[in-house]
Amino acid sequence: MTRRQTWAVAACLTAMHLAAFRADWLAPYGYADQHREFPYAPPTPIHWAGIRPFVYGLAPEDDGYRVDATRRYPVQFLSRGRLFGAAEPGVIFLLGTDGDGRDVFSRVLYGARVSLAAGLLAALLSLGIGCMLGTVAGFFGGWVDQLLMRGSELFMALPWLYLLLAVRAFLPLHIGSLQAFFLVVAIIGGVGWVRPARLIRGVVLSQRERPFVLAARGFGAGPAYLIRRHILPFTWGITLTQATVLIPQYILAEVTLSFLGLGVAEPVPSWGNMLSEARQYHVLTGHPWLLAPGIAAVPALLGYLLLAEALSSRKFKNMTN
């Protein structure tokens, strides 16, 4: 990829995160707003009168819904503190509704907030721990290094998802949404530090023998100064690459935990707990729009994958030059 394409991908990812962050403005409804008369409503088509968009009324029937073309509701922009919405009493469900009549489009946006933030924060935590332990182990060596390497082998002896569940199993189950969110972040981040720590240790290990580090040491520089000034700057490349690898993995980890009912719980949406409704296939066959949260994850993952590829190929180029 060219440099410009890489920046474009990074910009798209940033836009995606910003959209998730401002879900309360972009979404036409709140995440818990229920339209009891419209369970499993299909996506609302948008019609145009000239340049003005409008939607037709929706009338529930015995088996599904009927479009009521006699009633028209204009789509209003920037009203009631939201980007758009249908004029009352019309409804606009861009991706349909779920079993409680909640707007799936709004919930995907709010769910993105939870899932993307969980990935980012957990990666931050993981890289923080990994950077600290990896640097200390690589720089000081000896028994500290031995302890870290043996300890990390214990973590790697378990399959990743089993490890997550093993930790989750022994923590409280019934807790509030906010606590659950931070618990999930702490579990994912606290369990995933092993790989970055080992990679950073490797970089530090080779870095500490470089002539200029030895020279600085000869001039009497202390460990704290050496690490801050001469070692850490060289770990940034690998830290950044690791971030682009870890964030999508952690987003999926959050989605998985919430899907299994061990993460963020209803009514707060996460892509994972929204998908668990799609798990009942007899529900899903008639209402395929319930898959939206799973499909929403794909562009985010693609963005991070492209970024990771670009970063690692650039690193490779730098190494060969």
């Binding site: 378990l158 990743w160 998802l161 199993a169 022994f170 899907f259």
Partner: protein, 320 residues
């Protein structure tokens, strides 16, 4: 020989470490099976205490660990309170289902990945670009979404049974028919796992083959007029085997994780659903047993890969 012993001891120590860690962590857990019971007004607190005492929950931690570990070594993982049954047979049955799924998915994935990877390694231009895009697309689709979509497809088309491992009337069928029935149920979860694994495997096969294709020995072999087929089988694949066998060991962990999800989505009665249900029910003995089994499986797989490498690659034997 020393190397083999060393690897085996290392694996055993690792397993012991994992058991110590998980058991210690389980003891830190707030609340156990009995704390749910204590809320129940129909059971007196004294009765709960008696039950706890009978299950040995009030003994000191090291004593409990020693008792649990020595029993676990004999295949006895204690008594499941939620299922009111010994954990050993319960887990063994589930382990069989998971192993069947994992083994068939692994074999199918490698059988597909080897020719695909070799084909991909020899392509240039648009075919290479196409394969690259296809692999990237497969790579970004989450396992969870893949499993749900496959299940949806099965329900819509009716080609495959939707979930489970056996039909309801399987008990009345003969041995052959029953095996065929299981096989029919196996196709869907196994293909979800295969599609999930394929892009990673193909990429690695391609990288390994490309590396040896450009090696001087391959050039000289080609110059001596060794036919392409023989060159591929006798020279290139033998040299490329090293990273691939290592990958086999490493990919087991990913496989087990993906398998857990697929099992839960598709209702395959393996270790995954058992673990999730046990967590919900706070059934510590089952959680411990399943976690230990998954660790044992992964460690054994890595050990097997190590030993296979030692057998296949003379360079490792010389290095010692």
């Amino acid at each position: 020989m020393k190397y083999v012993l060393c690897r085996i001891v290392h694996g055993a120590l690792l397993l012991a470490g994992v058991s110590l860690l998980t058991f210690g962590f389980s003891a830190l857990a707030p609340g156990d099976f009995y704390s749910e019971m204590r809320v129940d007004p129909s059971i007196s607190p004294e009765a709960v205490e008696t039950l706890r005492h009978k299950a040995g929950f009030d003994r000191p931690l090291p004593v409990r660990y020693a008792a649990w570990a020595s029993a676990a070594l004999h295949g006895d993982f204690g008594y499941s309170l939620a299922y009111a049954a010994p954990v050993g047979p319960l887990v063994r049955e589930r382990l069989g289902a998971t192993l069947l799924l994992a083994a068939s998915a692994t074999i199918a994935a490698w059988v597909l990945a080897l020719p695909l990877g070799i084909w991909y390694a020899t392509r240039r231009g648009w075919q290479d670009a196409l394969a690259h895009t296809a692999m990237a697309l497969l790579l970004i689709v989450p396992d969870l979404l893949l499993a749900i979509v496959l299940l949806l497809l099965a329900v819509e088309t009716g080609w495959f049974p939707a979930g489970g491992m056996a039909s309801l009337d399987a008990g009345s069928l003969g041995a052959w028919r029953r095996a065929a029935d299981v096989l029919r149920h196996l196709i869907l979860p196994a293909s979800a796992l295969v599609i999930g694994m394929l892009p990673v495997l193909v990429r690695h096969v391609r990288a390994a083959v490309m590396e040896v294709m450009d090696a001087p020995f391959a050039l000289s072999a080609r110059a001596q007029g060794i036919p392409p087929r023989r060159l591929l089988w006798r020279h290139l694949l033998a040299a490329a085997a090293n990273p691939l066998v290592a990958l086999f060991g490493l990919s087991l962990g990913t496989l087990l994780s993906a398998s857990l999800l697929v099992e839960v989505v598709m209702g395959w009665p393996g270790l995954g659903p058992l673990l999730v249900d046990a967590i919900m029910a706070r059934d510590v003995p089952i959680v411990l047993a399943v976690v230990m089994l998954s660790a044992a499986f992964l460690i054994a797989g890595n050990l097997a890969a190590d030993l296979l490498l030692y057998r296949l690659d003379p360079r490792i034997r010389v290095r010692q």
